[in-house]
Symmetry: C2
Subunit: 240 residues, 2 copies
Amino acid sequence: MTNEVKNKEKVVGIIGGMGPEATVDLMHRIIHLTPVTDDIDHIHVLVDNNPKIPSRIKALIEGNGEDPAPCMIKMAQGLEEQGADFLVMPCNTAHHYYSRIAEAVNVPFMNMVELTADHVKSAQPNIKKIGLLASSALQIIHLYEPWFAKHNVEVMYPAPEHQEKVMAFICSVKANKQTAEQLVDYHRAAEDLAAQGAEGLIIACTELSVVGDQLRTELPTYDASDLLAKSIVSEALPSK
Amino acid sequence: MTNEVKNKEKVVGIIGGMGPEATVDLMHRIIHLTPVTDDIDHIHVLVDNNPKIPSRIKALIEGNGEDPAPCMIKMAQGLEEQGADFLVMPCNTAHHYYSRIAEAVNVPFMNMVELTADHVKSAQPNIKKIGLLASSALQIIHLYEPWFAKHNVEVMYPAPEHQEKVMAFICSVKANKQTAEQLVDYHRAAEDLAAQGAEGLIIACTELSVVGDQLRTELPTYDASDLLAKSIVSEALPSK
């Protein structure tokens, strides 16, 4: 890469809509992380906020849903065609299809799971056990396990009775109908992970990131969506 | 239009970035105005959130800036190509270029200024004077005047000393640096319009819409951005 290309500000392409609020939340984070004095200093972002992508939950958990990858690939290619210099996808579960999407485009595709695992390891070099607050789908597809395995970190989940409630909370956030009681359930799931020996927690669901600052825990907490936003800003802005 | 086409949910294209926060604010409003139980019920939105559009203020107020229309036209055409069924633009000032953009695309382009004027007239059929809280550019380009003239409504602006402060407030919101003092200035501009005889107020700047719920006034208030969001949801969802 020449210096000229390296120092050009990049256009971000967001494969969004999983859910749409999580995409808006990421856009908001990008705006607030970018140092600006006027509009023009902000980063150019192309977004396909498409809530019609076939359900990842139906395909991965219920096992009876349409394959969502072709739709995501079409979105990724559309964003590339529109001028995106690199792609991102604010949905943890959807990263199950990361490789298929990455192979279908000619621009780099930032991996939120990889960058989160790498960040946790660099922030806590001696960590052995990490807890995930996430959709139940992640447990089935073992999304974070390979990335943490290379750092010798074990991935843990809340006990089933807590995990069920985390999943219900995620569905409520998607429908914008979360209750105070569900927030308590969410805190209990975090406590359960701490009791199991987790030394840190990852908010590994972009719907949970939307309500992220409401989580109370004494463990170091890593919000995958926030780490993604930071990486986007750092990648998009020209190197100093 | 056949019933089949009429009853298909439509994809929205947002010509955004003026500023980027105003675009995110509109997306947020669309999400919260859409009745949903899961992701799939939300509206598919394509967004070009492009803060690199040449400055409308420089072109219209300072008179020495690059013409921003070609950039906006390119964005509009890109969104159409991506599959947008109709276009919207969450920036009042940019509506100065409305006709040039509308002529360059083959899909309908919703006019925020027209729909706001029509809404005010239908909400207050006997209104004679409407006050604008907006960028100073609007006063120069007479953006709202033709649309209100057909309803026999006079458009009013805050006195110059107040208008200057509204403009400074808008610039601060763009830089996310607004102060409590500036919010007071903003309220005083609203009071000035009331003293001049305005019977209603339009928040006619998407940056002011971002902080819209903070405006204190006894006059009926119409937020152009919110009216746009309501029209988008109503246009995008299939008719019952």
